[in-house]
Amino acid sequence: DAGITQSPRHKVTETGTPVTLRCHQTENHRYMYWYRQDPGHGLRLIHYSYGVKDTDKGEVSDGYSVSRSKTEDFLLTLESATSSQTSVYFCAISRGGADNQPQHFGDGTRLSIL
């Protein structure tokens, strides 16, 4: 395994509540990513980080924010959760750099918004 821990693994919450998902890595990789996975859509990039305090938007960033205050942690926040954000969320890490490196994934957080 790539030394990635996602927490919580499962969460059920109500519409309008804030939710924060955590990704923790022990590999000291520079790049971290958040994806969501929905039936019929595969995995889609939400946000990514290329260093501490350096983040950028992905394909489906609306309604999400991220923070990275230290190398090992990347947080995904839903400020006011909606039912359309019910999904499985995956964190990935990569060494990155000029020579492409593969991304390695955690085992996901299953989030249900009621």
């Binding site: 790049y31 990513y33 019929g40 995995l43 990514y48 992905g58 394909e59 990569s94 492409n100 593969p102």
Partner: protein, 112 residues
Amino acid sequence: GESVGLHLPTLSVQEGDNSIINCAYSNSASDYFIWYKQESGKGPQFIIDIRSNMDKRQGQRVTVLLNKTVKHLSLQIAATQPGDSAVYFCAENIGGADGLTFGKGTHLIIQP
């Protein structure tokens, strides 16, 4: 082995046969491609990657072929085993580390 059409959601093969999973990628500027395997309840697991300056790469029991002319990628699994049963995704990247674009996946089913 069995070759399937592009974007077929399910591929069923006999144990011991070779499997071929196909993928059409979307961006001609993509220069890095990865195949992932995902088992139920788990995250995608890296299988093999290939860069755009190559057309073939081999790993243990797996081979990836890249045809840039028609923007086509395939994964060949030799002597398919029950443990190969999973959903397989191709992914592409346009250089740099700004995230991957994933295909929708193919569910590989192994018949005894």
